[in-house]
């Protein structure tokens, strides 16, 4: 059951990205996706395998749901969020889009616990909220850096 739900969510977020009117170029979106992928892979490995703060299931299908969340759902949510805040340039809208994005990621964590995909050992939702907030800040500022890098080069030419 857990696998089916997370597979559906992965399908949903990827489809949403494909059909949405994108404000970021394909290169920008890929850069953010890959950067967040590298961070989520490393953070989840350190938190789960090294520090043993969270336990992940050993059941194959549920483990695949964990891999989907780590490698597809979380980075894609960040990419969609960044596209949306560039679409609605008002600061208040950007704030609420970010809050909604963090809330969705937290909800997915709750679902992971409900389906025994993850078990908190010495971890809680508060730490996750901080982690997701940092992920959003990293995505936002690294995108600004990436854009400046391209813009500076255009000006230099």
């Amino acid at each position: 059951m857990g696998f089916s739900i997370f597979f559906f969510i992965a399908f949903l977020i990827t489809s949403l990205f494909i059909v949405m009117k994108k404000k970021l170029s394909i290169v920008d979106s890929t850069f953010i996706y890959l950067l967040i992928l590298v961070i989520t892979i490393n953070v989840s490995w350190i938190v789960i395998e090294e520090l043993k703060l969270i336990k992940v299931t050993k059941e194959a299908m549920n483990y695949t749901a964990f891999i989907l969340t780590r490698s597809v759902i979380t980075p894609m949510i960040l990419v969609v969020q960044l596209n949306l805040i560039h679409k609605y340039k008002m600061k208040s809208r950007s704030f609420w889009i970010t809050v909604a994005s963090i809330a969705i990621l937290l909800l997915l964590r709750v679902l992971s616990i409900q389906f025994d995909i993850l078990t908190y050992q010495n971890w809680n939702l508060g730490f996750d909220a901080i982690y997701f907030l940092i992920l959003h800040l990293v995505a936002f500022y690294s995108h600004q850096f990436f854009q400046k890098l391209s813009y500076r080069e255009v000006n230099e030419l």
């Binding site: 290169v27 892979i41 483990y63 891999i67 490698s71």
Partner: protein
């Protein structure tokens, strides 16, 4: 942890990293900075995605360096992927790979990947376990390099349109 024993595998990683980045620096500039940065990140993320999905966790088919745990030289090993993804895209563009040559280019690079993979096992940088054998890596390289080539074509078509 930084490393268990500083010996053959650690020294080999350092030498390969230095050589790869020297070659990268010596190659004439071909792409805008954002594409260069993206191609470097592409290698790092695709290497990490496969290693942390099949190389560790539930499948755990190979061990990197001396320990099952994450050490500094594991990170340096992953950094080794960055110049190679750049080389793949660089020569893809330089050689003007098209629909007729795409398959040969991907197969050629996959064979190179397989040889490097063998070298990494010979240098004790990676050790296969749980039934994993070297030929399986060929499938991994075919997948990664096909996606890389197709993605590069997509970017080129978007930039031209």
């Amino acid at each position: 942890m930084l490393w268990e024993n500083f010996d053959k595998n650690e020294i080999s990683i350092l030498i390969m990293l230095i050589l790869a980045f020297i070659v990268l620096g010596l190659l004439p500039k071909r792409f805008p900075r954002n594409i260069t940065l993206l191609s470097l990140l592409w290698g790092l993320s695709s290497g990490m995605l496969f290693d942390f999905t099949i190389g560790g966790g539930l499948m755990d088919v190979y061990k990197v360096n001396d320990l099952q745990r994450y050490e500094l030289f594991d990170l340096l090993y992953y950094l080794l992927f960055t110049p190679f993804s750049y080389f793949f895209i660089y020569f893809y563009d330089t050689l003007g790979i098209n629909k007729k040559t795409f398959i040969w280019y991907v197969v050629g690079w996959s064979i190179v990947g397989l040889i490097v993979n063998w070298l990494l096992t010979w240098l004790d940088i990676i050790q296969f376990q749980n039934g994993y054998v070297l030929p399986y890596s060929f499938s991994v390289f075919l997948i990664i390099q096909t996606i890389t080539g197709v993605y590069f074509e997509l970017i080129k078509s978007r930039q031209l349109s």
